[in-house]
């Protein structure tokens, strides 16, 4: 019986030309597991960073209480829950790396979360989160469409001295801006050094003739750019820079 099995095995190996997988397959699989674990940690760090961002600059939920009001209030907690969930996913991936399953689940999740939270805090405090946002906004159309636009629409009222949109060109004379309706505006203002093409900004100032806008203040949406609808904490240094 034993010989039968051995013979059949050897015959099958010969017939089907079966060979052990090369070593690099194992290396690749290990690398894949570690990379996915790293990706989970990165996402968890970003989620934690967004939580600290909301926590730091506060939320303006608007005057009317309703579904939107509730949802805006839940945003920071959604980020926090995402960070915890991603830490748990990190643990599931860690289990697949060699003998990772030997570790206690809660301990690994806790370590993942602690690393995410501390790195996320540093990222937010040092302006790294905004730099990532700016890089994404300037390079990815999908990101821009997904994260930008609606808030510009809510902010933009040029007749009342408020304009928002995406920067299309940038030079020493000022910036060219495309508003949510697709109209192009020439903005006269000193340009803060954080402004980049593709980034969504909001302006305060006065509307001029022929789609000219004289900005007295330029603020950014997104990470580090003040609260929802721009009523959050302002950056005084940006205000100074914008004065023509």
């Amino acid at each position: 019986m034993s010989m039968d099995l051995e013979e059949r095995l050897l015959a099958r190996i010969e017939q089907e030309h079966i060979r052990p997988y090369p070593k690099w397959v194992g290396v690749l699989m290990k690398l894949g597991s570690h990379l996915s674990m790293g990706a989970a940690l990165l996402c968890s760090t970003l989620a934690a960073s967004v939580f600290f961002l909301w926590l730091g600059q506060g939320l303006d939920r608007g005057p009317q209480q309703g579904f939107r009001w509730v949802m805006i209030g839940l945003l920071p907690w959604f980020s926090l829950v995402s960070a915890v969930l991603l830490s748990w996913i990190g643990w599931r991936l860690f289990r697949r790396t060699g003998t990772g399953y030997r570790r206690q689940a809660w301990m690994v999740v806790l370590v993942f979360f602690a690393v995410s939270a501390s790195t996320g805090y540093v990222l937010q405090a040092t302006g790294g989160l905004f730099r990532i946002h700016r890089a994404m906004a300037t390079t990815s159309d999908t990101y821009r469409e997904f994260f930008q636009g609606r808030r510009s629409l809510e902010w933009s009222l040029p007749e009342e001295g408020r304009l928002a949109g995406v920067v299309t060109t940038l030079d020493s004379a000022g910036i060219e801006l495309r508003d949510p309706q697709g109209k192009t505006w020439q903005v006269q203002s000193a340009v803060p050094d954080w402004v980049a093409v593709g980034l969504e900004v909001r302006l305060e100032g006065a509307m001029g003739q022929d789609r000219q806008f004289l900005a007295t203040r330029i603020d950014r949406f997104g990470p580090g750019g003040g609260g929802k609808m721009g009523h959050g904490k302002r950056h005084s240094e940006e205000k100074k820079e914008c004065k023509p």
Binding site: G98, Y101, R102
Partner: protein
């Protein structure tokens, strides 16, 4: 931990070292090493399969063939930090599980021999004088194990039939050793509960009490 150690035996015994060497030879495509592994592991794996899946008798040979082929193909992916026995048992269990998922047939534990039932009973009941009074009781133990939920039966079979230590069970099931310990405790509780309801505990301890 009910008086049992959760530490593993380590994997430094002679058999383990030989297996590691064989695995190394296997990774370069040495079929003689495979033959040696088959000789050494066929009987334990066959017994494990019977216990794990009495209902897949016809497939047992086919499953074993697939297990050894996987051992051969994945030899380069074997991590020497893991005991070879845990690795091969894991492959065997996963292969069986994937077959059962496809077939959705019975996965009843095979018939448990009387002496095995007696040894399970002695370990699980944890009473020095406890012994099974009849063949009927031994058969009943098989029935109780059969009725056990999968998550308990996995650890129960590995612990009380295969007599693996907690660390090795953890390596086979890819679970933390504390999780394994908890699951074994619950499996034992579940088993004792069913055994009590069938009067097994009373019958097995009665003669001992009478003798005192």
């Amino acid at each position: 931990m009910d008086g049992e150690t959760i530490e593993g035996k380590g994997g430094g015994d002679g058999k383990s070292d030989t297996d590691r060497l064989l695995a190394r030879r296997l990774s370069s495509g040495d079929t003689k090493a495979l033959t040696e592994i088959v000789k050494s592991w066929k009987a334990p794996l066959e017994r494990y399969l019977s216990r794990l899946c009495g209902g897949c008798k016809g497939d047992k040979d086919e499953i074993l063939q697939e297990v050894f082929l996987k051992v051969y193909k994945h030899a380069n992916l074997y991590d020497p930090a893991l005991p070879f026995s845990a690795w091969i048992y894991r492959i065997c269990r996963n292969e069986m599980a994937s077959r059962m998922r496809l077939k959705t047939g019975s996965n009843e534990v095979g018939e448990i021999p009387d002496e095995v039932a007696e040894s399970i009973w002695g370990t699980v009941v944890d009473l020095p004088d406890a012994h099974l009074s009849s063949k009927e009781d031994a058969r009943m133990i098989g029935e109780v194990v059969n009725a056990m939920p999968d998550k308990f039966r996995d650890v129960f079979i590995l612990r009380f039939l295969e007599e693996k230590d907690y660390a090795e069970i953890g390596d086979i099931l890819q679970e933390n050793v504390n999780t394994v310990a908890t699951r074994i405790r619950r499996a034992r509780e579940w088993f004792m509960d069913k055994a009590k309801s069938r009067g097994l505990v009373e019958r097995s301890t009665e003669p001992a009490r009478g003798g005192r």
